[in-house]
Amino acid sequence: MLFRSNYAGSSFSELLDLDHPHLKLDFAELAQKAAQPIQAPHGTTVLAFKLDDGVLVAGDRLATSGNMVASRDVEKVFATDERSLMAIAGAAGPAIEMARILRIELEHYEKIEGEALELEGKANKLSQMIRQNLPAAMQGLVVVPIFAGYDVRRRTGRLWKYDVTGGRYEETELECSGSGGIIAKESLKKVWRPGLSRAEGVRAAVEALMDAADEDRATGGVDVARGIYPIVKFSTADGIEDVPESELAEVYTAIASERANRG
């Protein structure tokens, strides 16, 4: 069985399409066959912006299905390799699957070719995956992620936003996506500046997610009662780092008490 392969390239998703089509769920085809639009859980607010020494990517934890909570502690920010991150918004199922395949895709390419893709190459690969999902998106399974990472060659953080057709736009400062994205962006805009430190970045991210949760009922924000905090990750020259919950809790408490004092 080992030698029976039709595929000789270095792309994992092409390998699945060609040699293992039964393993790859075709959301596009499924969605087209569905009599009515599929009501699937949706991820809500994610954001990314540049820091002095890299990028920060964050997301709340709520997934909703219509007006109901689908999950309170879903993860929407994924490390796709040692220096790149993908934040998902939109239909959770296809989006999480896309992040999973992208991670394997990047590792697979690196192992087969002996060299990792450039950050831009990774962003472009994601663009193709979103484009393939277009028929499913037209049936309601929209996936609009943000891709960000540290570009080792250019020695800087970079980030991209996407549209539903796979259109890829590099952003020089910040980007937000999902139902509460606009509100998070408005919040972030007021505090973002070039050369933001990590601590300043964490505060800006938490505050933006709190603002989004305040105005958008589908965004989770910080759930103190259950101890569920947003996911915040950095990508810098040193690799990917998770901001620990304890730090997020401190930042949240500080912001909340400042706001409470306003009266």
Partner: protein, 232 residues
């Protein structure tokens, strides 16, 4: 009308085996060693870009000797096998034993069916992960040109002068030695095949599967780092 020649199956197999052995013996050997934090794969390789040692999956490494195009093809097939399996099931389900068995069957198939056997010998290694039940031991599998498979503990040599190098390892190998000592032993072993001539760090290809690394345990050791360890 021409009559086809009759060749006895014994003769045919012998000829193929001799052909494959000759091809493999021309290449340089690869040494695999267990050390305190994982596994070390090491070989003499004058080329800095055509690797004989490669990463298959999180805890699985690969090395081949003989015809480069053939064992590199086997390596890629292994990567595809592992990535598809890890995608279909879970990352922990990708194991060296199943992969080595598949290699054994595939290489054995070529040996019996095809005119030309593969002129390769490969080793598949897996570093243990004590956090999981049933994953507590390192594994080393050697697969030869005819598909015969064997498992090894502590160390394994593939390539030209297996007997000679393994007798050196038998005498000097110690369990749980630190990486520096394992590298020294690896180099001195390889140098025996080289008529005891020194092999400079830039002509050594070395990689480790380091148990302490997160997820992907495989890491190449660049010449600079080797030079630092050897102190020369």
């Amino acid at each position: 009308m021409s009559m086809p020649f009759y060749v006895s199956p014994e003769q045919l197999m012998q000829d193929k085996a001799e052909y494959a052995r000759k091809g493999i013996a021309r290449g340089r050997s690869i040494v695999t060693l267990e050390y305190a934090d994982g596994m070390l794969l090491m070989g003499e390789n004058p080329s800095a870009s055509l690797s004989k040692i490669g990463e298959i999956y999180d805890r699985i490494g690969f090395a081949g000797v003989g015809r480069f195009s053939e064992f590199d093809q086997l390596r890629k097939i292994g990567v595809r096998y592992a990535d598809v399996k890890g995608y279909a099931y879970s990352r922990e389900d990708v194991r060296a034993k199943a992969l080595a068995n598949s290699y054994s069957q595939a290489i054995g198939d070529v040996f019996t069916r095809e005119m030309k056997p593969l002129e390769v010998e490969i080793v598949v290694v897996e570093v243990s992960d004590p956090r999981f039940e049933g994953h507590e031991k390192n594994s080393i599998y050697r697969v030869q040109f005819d598909g015969s498979i064997s498992d090894h503990a502590g160390y394994c040599v593939i390539g030209g002068s297996v007997e000679n190098l393994e007798s050196h390892l038998r005498a000097s190998y110690q369990k749980d030695q630190p990486l520096g000592e394992a590298l020294q032993l690896g180099r001195s072993t390889l140098e025996r095949a080289n008529g005891d001539g020194r092999i400079p760090a830039e002509k050594l290809e070395a990689a480790i599967l380091d148990r302490n690394r997160a997820e992907r345990k495989f890491r190449r050791l660049p010449a600079d780092e080797l030079r630092g360890i050897f102190g020369a």
